[in-house]
């Protein structure tokens, strides 16, 4: 929003993703590569703090981006790189943020957990579990009050369904029949805890019944299934049909965060999920649809190259400066 060309680039990337299935595939690959590379960069000690990557969950992000209009709103979590890239945020804006550069989403003052770009509907990603749920509800309330047809999507994890804000947000959305979709990425773990240790139900979608809300469980590794489920929920919300809780069954390949080696996973679990890798599944589908397999293979190399170029560009760009921290606290300057 600050840099006009940036803005255009994010909107262009968003449009591109919506225009072709190849681009949808490309974006998933981009997300995967960016996440893998971020883990490496952190591993090399080049970046302070922590990071939460989403390898294995790419289908959910691109499905949301494929369905929503740029004026729709997404309230997402600290595990937000994939969602940001899918919605249109550039690699430079994401990596710039992580590297503390002025071109970062928030000028390099926030780091990995804090991305945003209102021009493509991305609210600041929420680092407090559950915080984004009522805030997404509020974006939907604004749409209802303003009489726009915009929809809001709150994205959160399985673990977040045990926090008070989830309950209060869903209840409010239901009682006011707001245009919001609650999208739970059930990746089976909240940090290091398997869901069964913290949650007495397996299908989180059942919780919608507490609010007489519609719900759906969907395969989170299948882009098309996701697009269908999210599109149906979004369309209903746009038409005044109220909120829906969509639960996407998915899996994160990496640990919870930078320092997590994920040793708590039962043997074979990761491997089973890798067999249903969302990128591979989508590739197979595209090939079945007649897309040239070698073109799809080439996408990986193209993306890798672009990523390295982006990293170079970011590292060559100016760092955030001390005086930057005094801006954007309130309307004036500190």
């Amino acid at each position: 929003m600050t840099v006009a060309s940036e803005t255009n680039e994010a909107l262009r990337r968003r449009a591109a993703l919506q225009e072709s299935r190849l681009e949808l595939f490309r974006r998933m690959v981009e997300i995967r590569l960016v996440e893998d590379r971020i883990i490496e960069l952190f591993g090399e000690g080049l970046i302070p703090g922590s990071t939460h990557t989403c390898q294995g969950q790419e289908a959910v992000s691109v499905a949301v981006a494929a369905v929503l209009r740029p004026t729709d709103t997404v309230a997402c979590t600290y595990r937000g790189h994939g969602m940001a890239l899918a919605l249109g945020v550039t690699r430079e804006a994401l990596l710039g943020e992580i590297f503390g550069r002025k071109i970062g989403c928030m000028g390099g003052l926030g780091g990995s957990m804090h991305l945003s770009d209102p021009t493509v509907g991305l609210l600041p990603t929420f680092a407090i579990v559950g915080a984004g749920v009522p805030i997404g509800v509020g974006a939907a309330l604004a749409a209802q009050l303003q009489g726009t047809e915009d929809v809001s999507v709150s994205v959160f994890g399985d673990g977040a369904t045990n926090i008070g804000g989830f309950h209060e947000g869903l209840n409010l959305a239901a009682v006011w029949s707001l245009p919001v979709v609650f999208l739970c990425e059930n990746n089976l773990y909240g940090e290091y805890s398997p869901i069964a240790r913290t949650t007495p139900v397996t299908d989180l979608a059942v919780r919608a019944a507490s609010y007489q809300m519609r719900s759906e469980v969907v395969d989170g590794q299948d882009v098309d299934a996701l697009i269908d489920a999210i599109a149906a929920a979004v369309a209903r919300a746009r038409d005044g049909g109220g909120p829906t809780l969509v639960e996407a069954k998915t899996y994160r390949y990496a640990g919870h965060s930078r320092s997590d080696k994920a040793t708590y996973r039962p043997e074979g679990e990761l491997e089973r999920w890798l067999q249903r890798d969302p990128i591979t599944l989508f590739k197979t589908k595209l090939v079945d649809e007649g897309v040239d397999g070698s073109a799809l293979e080439a996408v990986w190399e193209e993306c890798r190259l672009q990523l390295e170029q982006s990293i170079e560009a970011v590292l060559a760009s100016p760092l955030a400066e001390p005086s930057d921290m005094l801006a954007n606290v309130t309307a004036g300057r500190i």
Partner: protein, 334 residues
């Protein structure tokens, strides 16, 4: 000139602002049909309808969060927290989310949100419904906090809060809702945030008061053997350093009159800053007149707990005469 109760002045300020700006809406528990537990939204439902004046479920986290989401989406919500203590179940949405929206978005978003809550002792509601709790808020970067001392300042400060482009908390002294004051209700009589007011003038001592202690301090000063500048601080974050410093430069003596406990009270902030600014002008150490470090008691004892005009007068008598700080009443007891 109008002569209104403080709750009427608040209703009027909200009504006029809602008239002026369609983006403003009000929500909270029982603010619509019941017109507010303290009748601070009288006539608003009838005038603006149920879409802009909304009763909420008992979900402070949910509706405060929804207000944050609506605020960053182009609306200007006013949220009522019936008793400010209830922020204890929702603080995250105010101090960790709303206050940071501008910062987290690199200036692309902002949250023009007004949070009004009844605060303070005097009505016999006991220890969980009688606190001021500005200490939960003051010091939060991005947040402003104002405290009216009667109908006139409630009118002007409520308007200022609503018009501000950042989150503002209005702590309404609940003991004052029913008190009448005559004032000039010019629709643009906005009291700027951050600006205090000197009521009465005197060379012997500067008495800084806030909310319901403004009246206490004025009564104490009315019949006293000393003459005081009584400062109604009006905003506690950011507070009017210049006004207080100027007065203390003149009088050489600083007293704060606070209804809160000594420890963690706002007076410490004032004293610590003013001592730095005015060290050479000070004739004696500053004196803070507060309640004891105990929960707010019920019934008759509440009157003892709160600093009364008599107590203030007596303590300031000694203070001005001896240039030392006399012990507090409870130090004599324990």
């Amino acid at each position: 000139m109008k002569r209104l109760r403080m709750n009427q002045a608040i209703s009027l300020a909200i009504a006029e602002e809602m008239e002026r700006d369609e983006r403003i809406f009000l929500m909270g528990e029982d603010v619509a049909e019941a017109e507010g537990t303290f009748k601070t939204s009288e006539g608003l439902l009838a005038r603006f309808g149920p879409s802009r004046v909304r009763d909420t479920p008992i979900s402070e986290m949910g509706f405060l969060g929804a207000a944050v989401g609506a605020a960053v989406s182009g609306m200007r919500p006013i949220v009522e927290i019936m008793f400010i203590e209830f922020l204890g179940v929702a603080l995250d949405q105010l101090v960790t989310e709303a206050a940071l929206m501008r910062y987290l978005s690199g200036g692309a978003l902002h949250a023009p949100l007004t949070v009004r809550g009844s605060a303070g002792a005097g009505l016999g509601f006991g220890c969980q419904h009688s606190q001021t709790l500005e200490r939960w808020l003051v010091g939060t970067p991005g947040l402003k906090v104002v405290v009216p001392s009667g109908a006139r300042s409630a009118y002007g400060l409520t308007k200022a809060a609503i018009r501000d482009d950042d989150p503002v908390v209005v702590l309404e002294p609940r003991a004052l809702y029913g008190r009448r004051e005559a004032f000039d209700a010019d629709p643009d009589a906005v009291i700027p945030i951050g600006v205090g007011e000197v009521l009465g003038q005197g060379d012997d001592v500067t008495i800084v008061a806030l909310g319901q202690t403004v009246e206490t301090a004025r009564s104490a000063a009315a019949d006293a053997s000393w003459a005081a500048d009584v400062v109604d601080l009006r905003t506690i974050q950011p507070w009017d350093h210049e006004l207080v410093a100027e007065s203390v430069e003149k009088t050489g003596r600083l007293v704060t009159v606070e209804e809160n406990q000594f420890t963690g009270g706002w007076g410490a902030e004032i004293v610590s800053s003013i001592v730095s600014a005015c060290f050479v002008s000070l004739k004696c150490p500053p004196m803070r007149l507060t309640a004891p470090d105990v929960p707010v008691p019920y019934g008759e004892l509440e009157r003892q707990y709160l600093p009364s005009a008599d107590y203030v007068r007596t303590q300031v008598d000694v203070f001005v005469k001896t240039d030392t700080v006399p012990s507090a009443w409870w130090e004599e007891l324990s």
